[in-house]
């Protein structure tokens, strides 16, 4: 491009003018094709939009401001990552068992960030209005940045600890990771408006604090400075995503009254789909943090019951939206959820990329205090029994494969409402085939769109079809890409042994000095020389 030096410099636009130029001003009405042909995906879901210009983006970001701001945050994050790696920061974690939470994070959550990047990029092409297109574009770039920074943040641990080396393959193959994967696949394969409610509203607004705050405060309590810094670095993006989610639902509801029942069904569906995914967070909070932060029950009460049911839904009632079906079951389950899920991982630890153990007595005291209505009565006796079996040399692993729910894909471990001692079983027949579900709500989701869920890639069914590397558990684990130390009992595991060895080196300064001298001697450097 050439410039004309004689022409006076154009007057600089204000921030607001630049935003307007970037969004509204590069929009046009198509003349060679119809609007329908240009945006073919925005009518079949039944959502009616009359005026796309009513989409109000409260952030009004411009591209240059966006990248400048993100680059600043990246600089700070990578400085922390470098410092932590160089200072052997991994040895200052509370305990290597803490990293089980991060193994779940990188295998279960990080790949979803990447999928979100791809799908928001799709939305940034396919919405008719320039406002939502640009908002989706920004979120798309955020999501790829999150995926990358999470991978970089955790890659330092991967040098020393098991279970993370193969996270992308594990996300595609490992039985329990099919839960978050199929959740997101369900959203990706929906229409653009449903995706906006599924991910933009339900995931990023309704459940986001339940999903992310536990990981980040867990990191902070357990000495994981890099993950905590990542969390701060993502926080301002997340608040923008929350605003986008809320703007999305209000926009749809305000555009046409006929949208209300459609959106209500999506809210019902996506609350429940998301809530089932958070079961793993419940377990992480209550059982996997060596220094616990808050219980799942407390977290659910604060972030969901108070903030969402108490704060958001009274506002949405104005539009004719009620709290999601399934809320009552979720509230009742809060006393049971984490215990049932950790017990499942304990029983299937030989097949997961995390390690588990019976909680210590101290930890059980904490659980009893956090769950006065259920722990001592129901769950402590279970752990006592499993501990006794372990002490007798019979550490219990489930001898077989579990029954899975066709919708959430979680082993069917959840109890009947009000009956903590009875597993809930639901079923439907479709085209002469029998399908099983963990709850009324997963059954409702299936019955609404059975054509979709009959295609689910159910890990147990696939193993039995011979599609997962072979007929035995070692065959399947090899196909998952597991290596020594990725799974099983925590005590005596490779990470546990290494941790002790490394700490013995650090704690025993004399031995540390001897080792340093030997290492320097090997390089042909004397200690006095090195001190210069």
């Amino acid at each position: 491009m050439t410039t004309n030096p004689t022409k006076p410099a154009a007057k600089k636009l204000s921030m607001q003018q630049r935003y307007s130029a970037l969004t509204r001003d590069i929009d046009w009405t198509p003349s060679y094709v119809s609007e329908e042909e240009m945006y073919p995906h925005t009518s079949y879901e039944g959502i009616k939009i009359h005026d796309w210009s009513k989409w109000d983006d409260p952030f009004r970001l411009t591209v240059d401001a966006y990248y400048r701001y993100q680059a600043e945050k990246d600089k700070r994050l990578y400085a922390v990552l470098d410092g932590f790696a160089q200072g052997q920061g991994h040895l200052t974690l509370s305990d290597p068992a803490y990293l089980n939470a991060m193994k779940i994070f990188i295998g279960g959550v990080t790949p979803l960030e990447y999928q979100a990047n791809r799908h928001f990029a799709y939305l940034s092409r396919h919405f008719n209005g320039p406002g939502p297109r640009f908002a989706a574009l920004c979120q798309s770039v955020d999501e790829i940045r999150h995926a990358q920074t999470e991978i970089h943040t955790l890659s330092n641990y991967n040098k020393y600890y098991s279970g993370m080396h193969n996270f992308a393959k594990m996300h595609d193959r490992v039985w329990y990771l099919s839960v978050p994967k199929s959740y997101f696949d369900d959203a990706l394969s929906a229409g653009p408006f449903e995706f906006l409610i599924a991910i933009g509203f339900s995931f990023e607004y309704l459940l986001t604090n339940l999903l992310f705050v536990p990981f980040m405060s867990g990191a902070s309590f357990n000495g994981d400075l890099p993950t905590m810094t990542f969390g701060f670095s993502a926080q301002s993006d997340e608040s923008r995503h929350m605003t986008l989610g809320l703007e999305a639902i209000k926009f749809l509801l305000e555009q046409d009254e006929a949208n209300v029942p459609i959106v209500q069904e999506w809210v019902d569906k996506w609350f429940w789909r998301g809530y089932r995914v958070t079961a793993i967070i419940a377990m992480m909070l209550d059982y996997m943090l060596p220094r616990p932060v808050m219980s799942w029950k407390e977290s659910f009460e604060l972030y969901f019951e108070q903030q969402m049911l108490g704060g958001l839904f009274p506002d949405l009632a104005y539009y004719g939206i009620r709290p999601p079906a399934g809320v009552e079951q979720a509230i009742w389950e809060k006393d049971h959820l984490s215990h049932l899920v950790y017990n499942t991982f304990y029983q299937f630890s030989h097949a997961a990329n995390i390690t588990t153990s019976v909680p210590t007595q101290d930890h059980q005291q904490w659980l009893a205090a956090a769950y006065p209505d259920s722990f001592d009565a129901v769950y402590r006796p279970k752990w006592d029994k499993l501990e006794k079996m372990d002490a007798a040399g019979n550490r219990f692993f489930y001898p077989g494969l579990p029954q899975l729910c066709q919708v959430c894909q979680i082993p069917m471990v959840f109890p009947e409402h009000g009956q903590g001692d009875k597993i809930c079983e639901r079923h439907s027949d479709f085209n002469g085939e029998h399908f099983n579900f963990c709850s009324d709500h997963c059954k409702w989701i299936f019955d609404r769109e059975p054509e979709k869920y009959v295609q689910a890639w159910m890990p147990v069914h696939q193993i039995y079809q011979g599609a997962c590397g072979g007929p035995t558990i070692p065959d399947v684990l090899a196909w998952y890409g597991y290596a020594e130390g990725d799974s099983g009992e925590m005590v005596g595991n490779v990470d546990h042994v290494n941790w002790k060895k490394w700490h013995a080196q650090v704690d025993d300064s004399l031995a540390g000095r001897e080792q340093m001298e030997a290492s320097l001697a090997a390089d042909g450097v004397g200690v006095k020389e090195a001190a210069k």
């Binding site: 299937f348 579990p402 009875k422 085939e433 054509e451 696939q462």
Partner: protein, 106 residues
């Protein structure tokens, strides 16, 4: 009905024909939550009920040290009471692909 841009008709990824002459059968223990969930087994449709119980169900349930094998076993098939004929096959006893049989008592 699903809302889609085009024809939406895909086969089930867990349909019985993918298992040849076998079916998947779920076994739930109704009176204890020691096992975190019901178990899934792949078994021939033609397998006798007594062989299914002896060869598959018993090795599974007896891994619970508190399971009392001396007590009589009673069953449910999906939602209904179930009185299987030990000499008849799973199929002849009315068990279909991915059904759940619940073991009550013991």
């Amino acid at each position: 009905m699903i809302k889609a841009l085009g024809t939406y008709d895909f086969p089930s990824r867990s349909r019985q024909e993918l298992y040849g002459d076998d079916i998947l059968v779920h076994v739930l223990r109704g009176s204890s939550m020691f096992f975190c969930s019901a178990a899934a087994f792949r078994a021939p449709k033609a397998m006798k009920w007594s062989d299914f119980v002896g060869g598959m169900v018993m090795p599974f349930v007896t891994s619970d040290p508190d399971f009392d094998a001396s007590k009589p076993l009673t069953w449910k098939l999906v939602d209904d009471d179930f009185d299987p004929d030990p000499d008849k096959s799973l199929e002849e006893n009315g068990i279909r692909h991915k059904n759940t049989v619940t073991l009550i008592g013991a």
